[in-house]
């Protein structure tokens, strides 16, 4: 490895580029991001408009066929990708932020603060997230995917808080943190400049996992018919397909694309994660 003399940052980039898992995962995710952005512009149909004969299989005119009402499925599909990424970024991001914050505070402060936060974390951890969201959303109707994302973020943080807390606790007693404390740094700065940088690679991976988790949770809610009434999502497409008898009618083109896209996006995120793990942790690289 002759590139060793370069700066460490480009070293990471070098291994990142050499890692096929990272390349594969990111390409798949990027493909769907591009599709979500470009798709609505290249399709000629409105997602809800009745534009053709109903129940047509995929053809040159309707790339993914039409629904039982004669709506263009490709158009619904590309419009349905948008909430996937919105909920993923926002819900996953919020969950990561909350989890990290609570983990840092609990792990660094210790004592009664830790006891309280840890109990809270454990309670939210054992409550089945989707069940809680189901019951809340069943009463308080969601108005937008933004609100859905916030709800998901508010319930998905506990495992992150727990992991970050454990890591913070082990870092807290290291010498360099002691030194920072003796030199009079404020706890906030110690967390931000001494502890957080040591966990950066881990936090990136947490964000990716939360991203994927938020997508799957949002899809479940939409599938149960509890998504926002306006707009369209992949989960909602599967709900409509099931309720309007796509199964007995053999209209596989109605429910295969949305689920396949979700599995590919989330699977690609997970594989990206393994790739990143190998980049950050040389021991894990394939031999």
């Amino acid at each position: 490895m002759s590139k060793k003399e370069k700066k460490p940052r480009s070293d990471v980039l070098y291994f990142a580029w050499r890692n096929w898992k990272l390349r594969l995962g990111l390409s798949v995710v990027l493909f769907f991001v591009v599709l979500a952005v470009v798709g609505p512009r290249i399709t000629r149909y409105e997602p809800w408009a009745y534009i053709g004969r109903p129940r047509q299989p995929p053809s040159a005119q309707h790339w993914m066929g039409t629904t039982i009402f004669g709506q263009d499925i490709f158009s619904q599909f590309v419009h349905g990708l948008y909430p996937v990424f919105l909920v993923g970024v926002l819900g996953g991001g919020l969950a990561t932020f909350l989890g990290t914050l609570i983990g840092f505070v609990a792990g660094y402060r210790g004592g009664a603060t830790d006891e309280t936060l840890n109990t809270l974390t454990n309670i939210v951890l054992v409550i089945p997230t989707v069940a809680i969201l189901l019951i809340i959303v069943a009463y308080v109707k969601l108005r937008s995917y933004f609100i859905q994302a916030v709800f998901i973020g508010l319930t998905a943080w506990p495992w992150t808080a727990r992991a970050v807390r454990a890591q913070t606790m082990s870092l807290r007693s290291r010498e360099f943190v002691d030194l920072a404390r003796i030199s009079g740094m404020s706890p906030l700065r110690i967390i931000a400049t001494e502890i957080a940088p040591n966990m950066m690679s881990y936090l990136v991976m947490v964000l990716i996992l939360q991203f994927g988790g938020a997508i799957l949770t949002g899809t479940s809610l939409d599938f149960f018919g509890l998504g926002p009434v306006t707009g369209i999502s992949l989960g909602m497409m599967m709900n409509l397909a099931l309720s309007w008898g796509a199964l007995p009618l053999g209209m596989w083109w109605w429910f295969v694309p949305p689920g396949l896209a979700l599995a590919l996006i989330v699977g690609a995120l997970y594989i990206t994660n393994v790739g990143l793990d190998e980049v950050f942790n040389p021991k894990l690289r394939e031999k």
Binding site: I123, V126, V130, V140, G212, G259
Partner: protein
């Protein structure tokens, strides 16, 4: 048994929180739940409507002070009184739930246990074995990323409707009444298989991948390297790695229970398999709030019970927890 006491306290607090939420959300939600339920159940004659309204007001005790309503809610709960279902009027919610529970249990328990056992074995076996590893990685991640309802829909359509190998929905054939006969039992098993398989596959992917990653971590740990330098057979090192990787997978099972519960709901809906999940789905669709409340509490209770079981297993398996050398 400090450990168990601490965990029990968490579960009790959680249950308390869930019941309170269950109680509060119906009372503080915007709009009039009684009216919403009555208009939903619009098919019933005007006379029955009045009786229902009266029943709801009394059941909610909406004329009582709030604290009294809250105490009454708990009291009814301990008596197993969840109210009356509107959607399946006039069946009591508790009876509806009890009829659905066996299906959910029969689906979930084998799916969870088998996927966990087989997934872990397979993941451990595949780790660091060139060909197997590079197949397991994409396939496993794809499986675990698959939305439960999608795999359900896919199987119901592919193996059920297109190939006609299995029935695509329900718990038993249309022409059969529940009875203690071989024909009925066979019908049950045939209807049970696809939902079971689709749950099993998604979970299997997760466990296999998790185990594979754990084993690789363990094989790189200092003790493994040390054993290797001593010339200990590779097989023995893998055995130690496996035992060490087991523990996080057991606690992982507890962490996954919530996700699994959600997956079970989605799977039951996809196959219209009459368990608690399908019931909850129908209750939501029909705005049957008593039934929603009941299903929610049953799910919470099931997940808490599962957590407790995992805790007990941890206690048996891990001597460090028994001696109290690790906290929680």
């Amino acid at each position: 048994m400090r450990y168990i006491r601490k965990r029990l306290l968490i579960y009790i607090l959680t249950f308390f929180f869930a019941v309170t939420l269950d109680w509060a959300i119906l009372r503080f939600m915007p709009g009039d739940p009684v009216q919403a339920m009555l208009s939903r159940a619009g098919v019933i004659a005007a006379q029955a409507m009045e009786a229902l309204r009266g029943y709801f007001i009394r059941a909610f005790g909406l004329d009582l002070p709030l604290w009294q309503q809250y105490v009454n809610f708990w009291r009814a709960l301990f008596k197993g009184d969840f109210g009356v279902s509107v959607y399946l009027f006039p069946k009591p919610v508790s009876q509806v739930l009890l009829e659905a529970v066996p299906y959910t249990v029969a689906l979930l328990v084998p799916a969870i246990l088998l996927s966990w056992l087989v997934g872990n074995k397979f993941g451990a076996f595949a780790a660091r074995r060139k060909i197997l590893d590079s197949t397991l990685l994409p396939v496993g991640y794809f499986l675990t990323a698959t939305p439960y309802m999608w795999l359900g829909l896919l199987m119901a359509w592919g193996l059920g409707i297109a190939l006609r190998w299995f029935p695509s929905g329900g718990a038993y054939g249309f022409g059969i009444m529940p009875e203690a006969s071989l024909r009925f039992a066979l019908s049950l098993v045939r209807h049970w298989f696809l939902p079971f398989l689709s749950l099993f596959l998604v979970m299997f992917g997760g466990w296999a991948i998790g185990m594979r990653n754990m084993i690789i971590y363990e094989l790189e740990a200092d003790y493994s390297q040390y054993l290797e330098s001593l010339g200990v057979p590779r097989k023995l090192i893998r055995k130690y790695a496996f035992r060490n990787a087991m523990l996080p997978q057991i606690t992982g099972l507890a962490l996954q229970l919530g996700v699994i519960a959600a997956g079970a709901i989605a799977t039951e809906v996809a196959f219209s398999y009459p368990g608690i999940g399908l019931l909850l789905f129908q209750a939501i669709q029909n705005q049957d709030y008593f039934l929603v409340q009941g299903c929610f509490l049953f799910i919470i209770f099931g997940v808490l019970l599962g957590n407790l079981l995992v805790d007990i297993i941890c206690l048996v398996v891990d001597p460090r927890i028994r001696r109290g050398t690790v906290s929680e």
